[in-house]
């Protein structure tokens, strides 16, 4: 039912035209508005492959009527074709527009209608044999209207990038001209334009000679190049404003109340497109088309991108994307749903264990993606060990699990893993990373104490909400309250507030220190309201040791307005007075409350990402309305169960590992191989640096000795992220200098690959006299038994017949050439294990 707009599948198109031609056609149709060409093709609109579209049941034009005036001189329409089965196809750039009276209103390709003179006209939109008509009324066009600084001039500075952080918006400005970033402070911008530089920037008698105009239009050399063409409407607006004496904004001028993106939700086929329009509603009730001035951003460019004109273009991969539009601090989102075209044949409904599966399957069905098969026991045992305890199963553990015939053995395995000491080590290391247990800042003793505290909490299965409350409200002698160490690494009050927001809520407020968050609701008042909680905090040396002191009077000053902001949580009104006492206690309650909109979602999303290889929200610490989850219902459900489980990490993990979704095979099929977003199959996850090093040690049977740690310590037990170790550094161990999970660098590089291939350290483990291979060769006579042991050790599975044959032939070949001496046999087994260590199946968790 969804293949309405492309009748012929892409692959067959490619064979008919050659993919180059196909791409060319796509480029033409999507990127060059084609309405201009439409009159020459009376047959009607075509699809992305240049093929005729079907007849539509009806044509919808939005808005249904256009009112143009001096304020809203131009407006775009969106034309949608509705098929009999209810599909909606964007035709905005594929139809012809005609105005009944171009002297009143003219229409151009792409559905842009411009006022010419007062009066009424009718816009005709032809789609094949069908036509739609829209009434256009133009009134008050002649009204002389002086452009308003805040509402007309600043948006232009925004639109043309003058005030970005790369140009005049950066802290030190550019070439002596500084604007507030994203126009967050129009008052200052006005001063910069009108008063500074001895008034040279604006020249009222001859606006064209203003420095602003000459630089922006390229009349004078400008580091930023030509930004605003002389002939453009934008130039005209600036010119009119200057000519009128460059007035300060009327304090009573209407301001933007909200913006709205049209449409707000659509299904788009592969390589399909959708024009967006943005309308701003002002406080005086007027609405103005601001598409030209809005900024757009996709939260997943790989799935769908958006250009500056608001045209969304989908790629080939299925999924869900949010496109954010912003204008003058207001934001709205368009959600695109991108299903695969090919319908699924009658697939048997996949079985469902809990609501995770129900919600994932619901999404997959809509996307025409079939979930992968259930993974086999070998995949499961290896995956569960790595995900839950950061450790590979030994050959014996793997064999026991594979040979276990009991029902429910997968759940039982996870339960067993969660009581192992490695569980505590592994999850403590995760928390220590984002809480920044940093030896350089905290000192040896402090870092160790903080780590031990985290370790204790994990061991005691402290509910996550309590865990964070203890940290947020830490006080007293630091020696006795090791969680107070957090305040030694978290920096000043503002940094502490943004770090905690990011860790506990997944909300990034740091942008709002200097300006209104460009893609979120946070203002400087919000930022300083949070920073205020930590302003009274100080550390004092006492005879009993360093003391964390909270002075009370939690307030901070917004440096821009000079206003004093009492401490208050995000998204709550500024309280009239500053509260007494240590208000961090209330903050801790608010942050970790089940009612908090972010907390449960944030933690659930992080844990989900850890196990599934991708967060429902990505990046995991960037929860905001304009970056919605790929499956919102699923994130809600996860948060709900996490709350019901009283923030119990172990129970929550079990909920995830129980699900069929967690237990999918990594083996893709045609329907899901492009899907990395919707959990249709297990993603391959590169092992963490520490986990991989431990795995190499375990497989070879030769442990690593870390400087400053007793022998026997495994890498996942290291509490110090600065231990000098080439392998750990090379594989991206985080350095704990920020709260961002992105510090852990999972990106492969060639040095890593070379290291596993060639490092003498790894070779010496393989060849070690006390190592596993030496032991096998000594004690196991049967080559086939060695091969089985090898596969169980590296992959937690038995070799396939073919793999066994390859390995045995190799061993036999060596024996034939070099004699069946044990040293040759041993080297041959080393070579086999080396090839296992370097395989993707070993390096990745799958």
């Amino acid at each position: 039912m969804l293949n309405v707009w492309v009748r012929i599948r892409r692959d067959s198109t490619a064979t008919m035209f050659g993919s180059g031609i196909q791409l060319f056609l796509v480029g033409c149709l999507l990127l060059v508005p084609c309405a201009v060409a439409m009159p020459d093709s009376p047959a009607g609109p075509t699809d992305e492959s240049g093929r005729r579209l079907p007849n539509f049941e009806s044509i919808r034009v939005e808005p249904a009527e256009l009112f143009l005036d001096a304020r809203n001189r131009e407006q775009g329409v969106i034309v949608t074709g509705m098929t009999a089965s209810g599909e909606m196809v964007d035709l905005t750039h594929r139809v012809a527009y005609a105005s009944s009276d171009p002297g009143i209103a003219s229409a151009s390709a792409g559905g842009q209608v411009s006022a010419v003179a007062d009066g009424g006209a009718e816009l005709t939109i032809e789609v094949g044999v069908k036509a739609a008509k829209v009434q256009v009324r133009v009134a008050g066009l002649a009204t002389t209207r002086i452009p308003d600084f805040d509402n007309d001039v600043v948006p232009l500075l925004n639109r043309f990038g003058c005030n970005t952080s790369a140009c005049h918006g950066k802290a030190e400005g550019q070439n002596g001209f500084k604007l507030s970033v994203f126009g967050s402070d129009p008052g200052t911008d006005y001063g910069a334009l009108v008063m500074e530089s001895r008034g040279r920037r604006l020249f009222v008698p001859e606006p064209d000679r203003s420095l602003l105009m000459r630089k922006a239009s390229g009349d004078m050399p400008h580091g930023g190049g030509v930004r605003i063409e002389r002939r453009s409407r934008a130039y005209q607006v600036l010119r009119e404003w200057i000519a009128a004496g460059a007035p300060r904004s009327d304090p009573h001028a209407a301001s933007v109340v909200r913006i709205q993106v049209l449409p707000n939700r659509r299904t788009i086929g592969p390589r399909g497109s959708q024009q967006l329009r943005v309308t701003a509603e002002f406080s005086d009730g007027r609405t103005v088309d601001v598409t030209e001035l809005a900024r757009f951003q996709s939260n997943n460019d790989a799935l769908a991108s958006v250009d500056e004109r608001g045209i969304v273009v989908a790629g080939d991969a299925p999924g869900q994307v949010a496109i954010m539009a912003s204008y003058m601090g207001a934001v709205d989102t368009f959600q695109a749903f991108l299903p695969r075209l090919e319908m699924l044949a009658d697939v048997a409904p996949a079985s469902e264990v809990n609501s995770i599966d129900t919600l994932v399957h619901a999404q997959l069905r809509k996307l025409n993606i079939a979930p992968a098969a259930r993974c086999d026991d070998a995949d499961f045992v290896r995956r569960a060990y790595i995900d839950v305890i950061g450790t590979l199963p030994t050959a014996e553990e793997a064999r026991d699990f594979l040979d276990d015939r009991s029902a429910g053995k997968r759940r039982a395995l996870v339960e067993r893993l969660m009581v192992r000491p490695e569980f505590v080590d592994y999850w403590s290391q995760k928390w220590a990373d984002i809480l920044r247990v940093d030896r350089r800042t905290l000192g040896h003793k402090g870092a160790f104490a903080f780590y031990r505290w985290i370790h204790d909490q994990v061991a005691r299965n402290r509910p996550i909400d309590e865990f964070f409350r203890e940290i947020i409200a830490a006080r007293g002698i630091i020696e006795q309250a090791p969680q107070a160490r957090f305040y030694q690494v978290s920096g000043n009050a503002g940094d502490t507030a943004s770090t905690l927001s990011q860790i506990v809520l997944g909300v990034r407020i740091a942008c709002a220190q200097c300006h209104h968050h460009p893609f979120d609701r946070w203002s400087q008042d919000d930022y300083f309201g949070m920073a205020a909680y930590f302003q009274p905090l100080s550390r004092k040396a006492t005879s009993r040791g360093e003391l964390l002191v909270y002075a009370g009077g939690a307030k901070a000053t917004n440096p821009r307005t000079g206003r004093e902001i009492p401490a208050h949580p995000l998204q709550t009104p500024i309280p009239p007075a500053v509260a007494d006492g240590d208000v961090r206690v209330q903050l801790a309650q608010w942050m970790t409350s089940p009612q908090n909109a972010w907390f449960a979602r944030n933690v659930a999303n992080r844990i989900w990402a850890q196990l599934l290889g991708r967060g429902l929200v990505e990046p995991v610490d960037d929860l905001r309305e304009t970056n919605p989850p790929s499956n919102p219902e699923l994130l809600d459900a996860l948060a709900r169960s996490f709350i019901e489980q009283k923030f119990d990490l172990r129970r929550f993990l079990l909920t995830i590992t129980d699900s069929e979704t967690y237990q999918r095979s990594a083996h893709p099929d045609q329907s899901n191989e492009c899907d990395e977003q919707n959990y249709s199959r297990a993603l391959l996850k590169r092992m963490d640096a520490e986990v991989l090093l431990d795995a190499v040690c375990q497989v070879s049977g030769v442990p690593e000795k870390f400087i400053g740690f007793p022998s026997g310590y495994r890498a996942i037990q290291l509490w110090d992220s600065e231990v000098d170790h080439y392998f750990l550094k090379l594989f991206g161990r985080p350095i704990r200098k920020s709260a961002c999970v992105c510090e852990r660098n999972m990106e492969p590089n060639v040095g890593q690959v070379l290291h596993v291939l060639n490092a003498p350290e790894i070779q010496s483990k393989l060849a070690h006299d006390g190592g596993r291979i030496a032991h096998w060769v000594e004690t196991i006579q049967d080559d086939a038994a060695i091969v089985e042991q090898l596969y169980l050790t590296c992959y937690a599975r038995r070799p396939t017949d073919e793999e066994r044959t390859v390995a045995l032939e190799f061993l036999a070949g060596v024996a034939q050439r070099d004699g069946n001496r044990s040293d040759f046999r041993r080297r041959a087994v080393e070579d086999l294990m080396w090839s296992c260590l370097n395989s993707l199946e070993f390096l990745f968790n799958h």
């Binding site: 951003q297 492009c674 660098n745 492969p748 590089n749 060639v750 793999e803 370097n838």
Partner: protein, 447 residues
């Protein structure tokens, strides 16, 4: 706006725009997927010789005293001018310090910017400023490695130009400077660090060759086995997972590097004529410069040579005369001559600088201290006209006297000469656009 948010790894999502699934995971990439896509996009727009261009940065860490080398002030008061006399060079009218006699004979191959300076006289931030073109912002922690808030010149070059041949795009010799990292350009643009001193008698580059104890036939066995054992390589798993696909690609590149005649030749400094090695100087700086030439010859885009010990707070003149300047003299003079003899100089830009200069006023320990406001940088090859002096410093070499240039201008000049648009933008993980060069202007008169 371009609607782009970087991943935390710094790979701008824009790189993947309109790249369908098939091509995203398709046969690809050299050192990284992004650089491949970058270079594919570039192919059409940047024809000509730019493709063969390389950069060598000789970074004299601690701060070269340029009043004793490039910009002597014989008429300044004794507490400024120091002990050294100027000598003539092979370019009429240009004089340099007497302890650089061999460089004096190569003066026609490089030029001096004497009106250079910047506002930071602290090692860490000044390093960052010079190696990235960006003054560090608040919160800069020089103790980190890498400490980059902005990508180093080498990472920008690696990202924008991609690799050439079977060798990495950006290599650090003998190891990577803390400000030599890729910042938000991600590990794909990070340097390949030699991590060994080319002057060591047993010098080898780590991990590029199989362990010595393995017979060649075992190495072959292993690679053949790996191809058969690694089942994910053959199945859809690797195709459908970006990370796995990258590892596969990196493995191909690794094998290529391991078997690359160019790389092997380049890394094997022992093959070099021992007289030429002597000429470069049997010290870390000399042999690193020689390694830089070998790497550029093999196709590396950017080599950063870092050499420490230039922080001459005490006994400045003794250290310079006895140890440092003879090393620099041999290394730099031979580098220019050697590049020129091999026809590489026209395509190889060489930059020789410290993070700052040193105080013209001599301190009580016969030393000179940190001095950012005025110093000289040396640039040659890669399109630069040699034998010129750009700008001048004041009478005591304290500040530029005219036409002052700074690290932004140096960055603009370097990237422009390499064929990279300094006004291009990268995106930080927060989605902030940052220009490749922070508003610098090309240094006039060099080309």
């Amino acid at each position: 706006m371009k609607g782009t948010v970087g991943f935390c790894d710094g790979v701008a999502r824009r790189d993947f725009i309109r790249v369908g699934c098939a091509s995203l995971f398709g046969p690809a990439a050299y050192w990284s997927l992004p650089s491949l896509l970058g270079s594919a996009a570039r192919a059409g727009e940047n024809p000509g010789s730019a493709d063969a261009r390389s950069l060598i940065v000789v970074f004299l860490r601690g701060g070269l005293s340029t009043i004793d080398t490039w910009d002597l002030k014989p008429n300044a008061p004794a507490e400024f001018r120091g002990e050294f006399q100027p000598i003539a060079t092979n370019v009429a009218g240009i004089e340099i310090g007497e302890h650089l006699p061999r460089i004096a004979l190569q003066m026609d191959k490089f030029s001096l910017v004497r009106s250079f300076g910047h506002r930071n006289s602290d090692h860490g931030p000044a390093d960052h400023y010079m190696l990235t073109g960006y003054h560090p912002l608040a919160g800069f922690n020089p103790g980190l490695s890498p400490n980059n808030q902005r990508p180093s010149h080498g990472s920008i070059i690696a990202r924008q130009l991609g690799p050439r041949g079977s060798v990495p795009a950006y290599v650090c010799v003998p190891d990577v400077h803390p400000s030599g990292g890729a910042a938000y350009l991600g590990p794909a643009s990070a340097p390949f660090s030699i991590n060994a001193d080319p002057n060591d008698p047993g010098f080898t580059v780590r991990d590029v060759l199989p362990p010595l104890e393995l017979d060649p036939h075992r190495v072959e066995n292993r690679q053949a086995l790996l191809a058969r054992v690694d089942r994910f390589q053959r199945t859809a798993e690797s195709r459908a997972n970006r990370g796995a696909k990258s590892v596969s690609v990196f493995r191909e590149r690794a094998f290529q590097l391991m078997t690359s005649a160019e790389a092997k030749r380049a890394f094997d400094i022992h093959q070099e004529d021992s007289r030429l090695r002597d000429e470069y100087g049997r010290n870390s700086l000399g042999q690193s410069c020689l390694m830089a030439r070998r790497l550029v010859e093999a196709g590396v885009r950017c080599v950063t040579v870092q050499h420490v010990d230039w922080d001459t707070h005490e006994a400045n003149f003794t250290h310079l005369r006895r140890d440092l300047l003879p090393m620099l003299d041999g290394a730099m003079a031979t580098l220019f001559r050697d590049l020129s003899d091999r026809g590489l100089l026209d395509n190889t830009l060489v930059l020789v600088t410290g993070e700052f200069g040193r105080t013209p006023r001599i301190n009580n320990n016969a030393g000179r201290d940190h001095w950012g406001p005025g110093f000289t940088v040396a640039l040659g090859g890669g399109g630069i006209q040699g034998g010129r002096v750009i700008g001048r410093s004041d009478a005591r070499a304290e500040k530029p006297a005219d036409d002052p240039y700074g690290p932004e201008d140096l960055a603009a000049t370097v990237h422009r000469l390499l064929g990279i648009d300094p006004d291009g933008e990268f995106y930080t993980p927060e989605g902030r656009p940052v220009k490749i060069v922070n508003d610098g202007r090309m240094i006039r008169g060099l080309t």
